[in-house]
């Protein structure tokens, strides 16, 4: 465990760029390829890589398991909630046009909210599955 200095150094250098790339994919999703799903997987991949090199205990200190397992349903709730808010404001379910004074801006905000929900659920699901596997192996 102590002899893998190259892996440790390289991974530590890579981690911030992975997180940055994940955020780029998330927020650049309306202009370029990608979106919540891809960004979520990349973010989860960052934590999994950290866990592989520095140990699961360290990773759980960084991203607690209890938090991850609460975030899994939260993303779906954000998605459902966006649809409900749109409906309460007088539109159809998941029709974001009513979310702002201008229907086009409403669509933009709605898409952002929905993508955030996808990001949260996907990244925390991947991490929850990873933690579940690792725990079982002990």
């Amino acid at each position: 465990m102590r002899l893998d200095a190259i892996l440790r150094v390289v991974v530590k250098l890579m981690l911030p760029f992975m997180l940055l790339f994940s955020l780029y994919v998330q927020f650049h999703g309306e202009l370029g390829p990608g979106g919540g799903f891809q960004a979520g997987v990349i973010a989860a991949g960052m934590v999994i890589l950290y866990a592989l090199i520095f140990g699961v205990r360290e990773a759980k200190r960084l991203v607690p398991q209890a938090l991850v397992e609460r975030l899994v349903p939260l993303g779906v709730l954000i998605y459902l909630g966006t649809g409900l808010v749109a409906m309460l404001l007088g539109g159809n379910y998941l029709d974001y046009s009513t979310l702002a004074h201008d229907s086009r801006h409403g669509q933009e905000y709605g898409i952002m909210a929905v993508e955030l929900g996808v990001l949260i659920t996907v990244s925390s699901s991947m991490l929850a599955i990873f933690y579940a596997f690792v725990e079982r192996g002990r």
Partner: protein
Amino acid sequence: METFINAVLLTLLAAVTIAIARQRNLFGVVILAGIYSFLMASVLLVLDAVDVAMTEASVGAGVSTVFMLGALHLTRTLEQRPHYSAFVPLLVAVGVGAALIWGTIGLPPFGTPDAVIHKHVAPVYLADSLKDTLVPNVVTSTLASYRGYDTLGETTVVFTAAMGVMLLLRGRRRKGAGGDERAKSKGEQL
């Protein structure tokens, strides 16, 4: 050039598939499956489906390889030789493959713009996306807005998958109150 790249990639895909089918060492299978995913991501890149290529590379080659290795950690690494002959499974596989190839005969030629799927709602989405949603990337506006229900369903599928794995792998641990309890129940299992 594109045809050449595609031919090389598809040949490699076939080779990797045969290697996976012949391999008994499951660790080798997992690594080969990762290579398969990377090749598939390249194929999708050649097909200009960057989003799908990104997903295939990150999920197929990245995260699922780690999950498979995690599953391998819980089982043995060597696949048992089957005690039945491979004749019937081979027959089923060849039959299904033939049916699928037969099905493609009725499809419009590859990449044609006149295909039915490109004539239904796709032109409307392409023309109105920027006007309706201020989002220049049509893939994003289609997934999140025009087809919001489908993506809600997909997100729910991911959620359900996580719940299923957590119930299967974590469920029993909760009964034991502490570490000692767990060790005891593990001993009983063995």
